[in-house]
């Protein structure tokens, strides 16, 4: 894989994560437990889908198809999103925990990409970074509040953490071609991101009264569960096929349709 192909592969993996999670978040529009959260998740969905589109524009500038074609005319088995973002929206606890885990990972990744040696990636990361801080502010605050609010909220939040933790580690599954880009300081190493993510989320969960499956020794945190990989290798869950079918239905019915 040459450098351009590696950049395209990387951009596509990030865009696919954003696009699919954005659609999962949008499933709460009109259905969230509070109107404030309805607004918040509709906004977050719009941001994530917008980020996917911006990443896909860079992909296009490197000779790829345009963002709409990539999002709406590609089959599920051509996507490279991780399993984490494919999972059904679940209950509100799962939604909050998933979004918090994702936002934390994104902030950490963007902190590196803001210094990428690749100009278009560097500019976009600088743009997206402050937007994501508002997501994290919201989701982290919710984790802290719901973690020990009532017996039921604690139980549901803990169940969500237990379920989401190994899935979230899938965000850091190695993306094919990564090594070429790490050497050129275009992107950070996925292992570095995972280590920093564990360092970040563990104390937040602890403060919220929630247990996480990690082993802590002398300031380092290691995961105690097997990460759920496969997405970056285009091996997907049945859930992805379903959401892609829903997402692409209208576009495929009337190709090239415009609002």
């Amino acid at each position: 894989m040459n450098k351009n192909e590696a950049i395209q592969t990387y951009l596509l993996a990030l865009a696919d994560d954003e696009l699919i999670l954005g659609h999962r978040d949008a499933e709460w529009t009109g259905h969230a437990p509070l109107i404030e959260e309805d607004i918040a998740f509709s906004n977050i969905a719009q941001d994530e889908i917008g980020h996917a589109q911006a990443l896909l524009r860079i992909y296009e500038s490197l000779g790829g198809n345009d963002p709409d074609t990539m999002g709406f005319l590609r089959d599920a088995d051509e996507f490279t999103c991780c399993h984490f973002v494919q999972m059904p929206k679940g209950d509100w606890a799962y939604t909050i925990v998933r979004q918090f885990f994702f936002d934390a990972a994104e902030i950490i990744r963007l902190r590196y990409l803001k210094n990428s040696t690749y100009e278009l990636i560097r500019e976009l990361a600088a743009k997206i970074y402050p937007e994501e801080q508002y997501h994290l502010l919201h989701t982290q605050g919710n984790v802290e509040r719901l973690g020990d609010a009532t017996e039921e909220s604690r139980r549901r939040m803990q169940r969500a953490v237990d379920e989401a933790f190994e899935q979230a580690l899938g965000l850091f599954e190695k993306i094919p071609g990564e090594d070429v880009l790490i050497d050129e300081k275009i992107i950070p190493d996925s292992r570095t991101l995972e280590a920093e993510w564990l360092q970040f989320v563990t104390p937040v969960l602890k403060r919220s009264g929630l247990q996480s499956p990690v082993i802590e020794t002398n300031g380092t945190v290691e995961s105690n569960v097997e990460p759920l990989y496969g997405g970056r290798q285009k091996k997907h869950t049945e859930h992805l096929h379903k959401i892609i079918e829903d997402m692409q239905k209208v576009y495929r019915m009337i190709p090239g349709a415009k609002w």
Binding site: I39, S42, D47, A54, Y134
Partner: protein, 165 residues
């Protein structure tokens, strides 16, 4: 209205674009918002560079077509509009006049942050109606990507704050 394009200067284009308003904040133009970045006239062609406020802002397409319409009115037939993320848009770019217009419209202007928007999150927020600082954040998200929802404990009204970015 077909004008002689030879007489149209960059300044004319800027003046015309100052009339194109932000579809979500009709008191500010796309020039006030610093969304229009650059204008270049090349013979009978015009090139405009614009930058989105939020990367996912859906209003960008409306803005693009509003700019096109205005430039067509000026007489241009070949119009190129580029989107750029160079020097990402920041609310610190809004000048005092724009801030005052926002406040009069009922939106608390974005807090200045000197390149560190996180520092603005916990800043004091003044109610645009009664000017009290006794306000509470209700939601970091609002009716558009660029606004947050607050409540004024003094005049007991909900209001919006422009998100510092």
């Amino acid at each position: 209205m077909n004008k002689d394009l030879g007489n149209i200067t960059n300044a004319d284009v800027w003046v015309a674009l100052k009339e194109v308003t932000d579809p979500e904040i009709p008191v500010l133009s796309l020039v006030d918002m610093k969304i229009v970045r650059d204008v270049k006239i090349d013979g009978n062609e015009v090139h405009v560079t614009m930058t989105p406020t939020f990367a996912g802002c859906p209003a960008i397409y409306q803005m693009k077509s509003d700019i096109e319409e205005k430039l067509r009115e000026l007489g241009f037939e070949k119009i190129n509009i580029d989107l750029s993320f160079k020097e990402p848009w920041s609310t610190d770019m809004l000048d005092d006049e724009a801030r005052l217009k926002l406040e009069t419209f009922g939106i608390t202007p974005p807090t200045k942050h000197n390149g560190n928007p996180t520092s603005a999150i916990n800043a004091e927020v003044k109610c645009p109606y009664c000017k009290s600082n006794d306000t509470t954040m209700e939601n970091p998200f609002g009716p558009t990507l660029c606004r947050m929802i607050y409540y004024c404990n003094s005049c007991r009204q909900p209001f919006e704050r422009f998100k510092a970015l």
